[in-house]
């Protein structure tokens, strides 16, 4: 049984007539596995994870056929029961580390808070453990950083603190929501390396939400490409990169600057993700798809198994089997 299993997840803001932000999403993650979720802004990547963490507030509404984590039905848990899991067995780090830490409390306090909440550690024991966690995320002079305030830390350092906070409860699943987007390029690689090292050392599952396909290629085993709230392609990592079946996956890969070396302009997919009022009747990509057919405009495809991956497209690309 997978560690995390999500079937037909829908998230709407408003009543049942509102356009879903996440639309019939299926996702599964095995223990110790790295899953990457890619897709442009507004494709519902973060909202999916917020739904899992129970961080969606009214008027947001969640429905799903199943959402199980570690054998627990996350949908039927009470808020109190869910809080015992969230922050401990499932932890999350966010995009902008400079605003993700509370400016009024020291780094040590914010880590010890998790230790107290989920492990019942207090006083000296909590402080000792917080120090170990800071060392584990490779913060230099960790001892002196315990009493530092977030504004005294750099972005990369803050993200390390956020990671220390997230792994404090020894989670089975760590969700990293664009963990390096707000950081300098030189720091990005260090943080990714740290995350992967921690993932291997603790045999955690890692869901990595990112725009950076190079990072996906290096780290993840499975990748889910999302577009306008739907998973459009779900596949194994080298395969999907070599044989992208969905036109959107292909466009994402083509948009990597390295693929446009020597060209005047970078490859792009014209247009934007459809919004609330211009949602097409057929395939959600149909207004932007270079391969669009009449059939695509009339009907919406389902996610189906193709030669190399699960694909939501009537006319998948690269289907020749080597």
């Amino acid at each position: 049984m997978p560690l995390l299993q999500i079937n037909n997840l829908n998230v709407r803001f408003g009543d049942a007539s509102a356009v879903p932000v996440v639309d019939g999403l299926d996702l599964s993650v095995d223990a110790g596995e790295i899953l990457a979720i890619v897709g442009e802004s507004g494709s519902g990547k973060s909202v999916t994870m917020m739904a899992l963490m129970g961080l969606i507030d009214a008027p947001g509404r969640i429905s799903a056929d199943a959402m199980t984590f570690n054998g627990l039905d996350m949908l039927s848990l009470s808020r109190r029961q869910r809080r015992k899991v969230v922050g401990k067995d499932i932890a999350m780090i966010f995009q902008d580390p400079m605003t993700a830490l509370n400016p009024s409390y020291t780094v040590g306090y914010q880590i010890e808070e998790v230790l107290h909440q989920h492990l019942g550690l207090k006083g000296r024991a909590a402080r000792q453990r917080a120090l170990e966690l800071l060392q584990k995320v490779e913060i230099p002079a960790a001892e002196s950083r315990l009493d530092a305030y977030p504004h005294q830390l750099s972005g990369g350092m803050s993200q390390r603190v956020a990671i220390a906070m997230a792994i404090a409860g020894e989670p089975r699943l760590l969700i990293a929501d664009e963990p390096t987007t707000a950081l300098d390029v030189t720091i990005q690689a260090q943080i990714m390396e740290l995350l992967v090292n921690l993932q291997q050392a603790h045999d955690m599952a890692l869901i990595l939400i990112t725009h950076d396909l190079a990072v996906v290629a290096e780290t993840a085993r499975k990748v889910c490409v999302m577009y306008a709230g739907q998973a459009v392609e779900l596949g194994q990592v080298p395969t999907l990169f070599e044989h992208p079946a969905h036109p959107y996956s292909e466009a994402l890969l083509a948009a990597i600057p390295e693929h446009s070396l020597g060209a005047e302009r970078l490859a792009t997919l014209p247009g934007i993700v459809p919004g609330r009022y211009d949602r097409p009747q057929g395939c959600l990509l149909s207004p932007r798809c270079p391969y669009v057919q009449d059939h695509c405009r009339a009907q919406r495809p389902a996610l189906e198994a193709q030669a190399h991956s699960l694909v939501r497209c009537f006319y998948p690309l690269n289907q020749e089997v080597a």
Binding site: M53, R83, M92, F94, P103, S104, Y149, H151, M165
Partner: protein, 336 residues
């Protein structure tokens, strides 16, 4: 931090002179002089009037009077009341605890109720409670104190008879003024019911005086809290699996308090101004009532130095608030 304190102290000197000049000028702009007022309707022999004015040193040209005044101040002499012949300082220190007691009770009331109302309104944004609190606080802010005080007296004291109409303590009790704070003195006196009686006397004036700060604090807390609850670190706190109470009070309110604290400090000035009216309505024997009477009697030394003392106090309180602000906000504390 030290240079911060030094800079703030440096600003006090011009402020101090500004206040002396203003009070000196303003009280002399009011028609009539102390001798005229003292004699009232009776006709006064101009010669006697001139003699009295000369004795008080009020016949000199204004710049000379001002220099006399500043010269005395420089020696720490606040002068004496023209009416009672008591030194201004001793009158002030006798009456001041009453005002502090009233102001403190008002702030406590405004702070506790205002913070709670503001936090709940922010959490239940758009609800009936939210609109209710915001509507009432707008009304409270616009309320003329003297009218509001009289309405409360009519309702609670006269119609319902729940609280006394005026004063600090019932005549039945003989309370030794040890500290000057009635709540403490009544406890020390050991007389049965004296403490409760003092509390009853305090409730209405405290509510009247606390109404405007309450409205300001509630509105400020609400808007500050709404802003803070949208912050990323609140999401982080929730993602840690913390209880809603911990998220709201430890992570939210702590940060939302920073701007509220500033407003709180500014309210202390407004509070002392409000105390003048409130004390007059409730015959509360504090410095507000003392000043009103001094103005009526053109008691120049009392008015000048009483206001000067209050102004120094407001400056001091704001100074303390600035330092507290630094304590509440680590980002300010570490600025050099």
């Amino acid at each position: 931090m030290l240079s911060f304190i030094a800079r703030r102290l440096g600003l006090l000197i011009p402020t101090f002179f500004g206040i002396t000049l203003l009070t000196f000028a303003l009280i002399r702009l009011i028609p009539g002089d102390p001798v005229e007022v003292m004699m009232g309707e009776r006709r006064l022999d101009p010669e006697l009037h001139a003699q009295a004015m000369e004795r008080l040193g009020l016949n000199k040209p204004l710049p000379a009077q001002y220099l006399d005044y500043i010269g005395k101040l420089a020696q720490g002499d606040l002068g004496e009341s023209l009416r009672s012949r008591e030194s201004v300082w001793s009158e002030f220190t006798t009456l001041f605890p009453a005002t502090v007691e009233l102001a403190f009770a008002a702030l406590l009331f405004a702070g506790i109720v205002g913070l709670l109302a503001g936090v709940i309104a922010a959490l239940k944004r758009g609800s009936l409670f939210d609109h209710g609190v915001m509507g009432i606080s707008l009304a409270g802010y616009s309320m003329p104190i003297f009218w509001w005080g009289l309405i409360l007296i009519m309702f609670f004291s006269v119609s319902l008879g729940w609280t006394p109409v005026s004063g600090r303590n019932g005549v039945l009790f003989d309370v030794e003024p040890v500290t000057g704070f009635m709540l403490i003195d009544t406890l020390l006196s050991g007389e049965d019911g004296a403490f409760l009686d003092a509390v009853q006397h305090l409730i209405l004036p405290a509510i009247v005086l606390g109404t405007i700060p309450l409205a300001v604090i509630a509105r400020m807390t609400r808007s500050s809290m709404l802003e803070v609850l949208r912050e990323d670190y609140i999401r982080t706190a929730r993602a840690k699996g913390l209880s809603p109470a911990r998220v709201v009070f430890i992570h939210g309110l702590r940060n939302a308090l920073i701007p509220v604290l500033t407003v709180f400090g500014l309210q202390i000035g407004a509070l002392l101004a409000g105390a003048v009216l409130t004390e007059t309505i409730f015959s509360w024997p504090g410095i507000g009532k003392w000043l009103i009477e001094a103005i009526g009697a053109r008691d120049y030394p009392v008015v000048q130095n009483g206001i000067l003392l209050i102004a120094c106090l407001v400056i001091l309180v704001n100074f303390v608030v600035d330092i507290l602000y630094g304590l509440a906000n680590p980002r300010i504390r570490h600025q050099r």
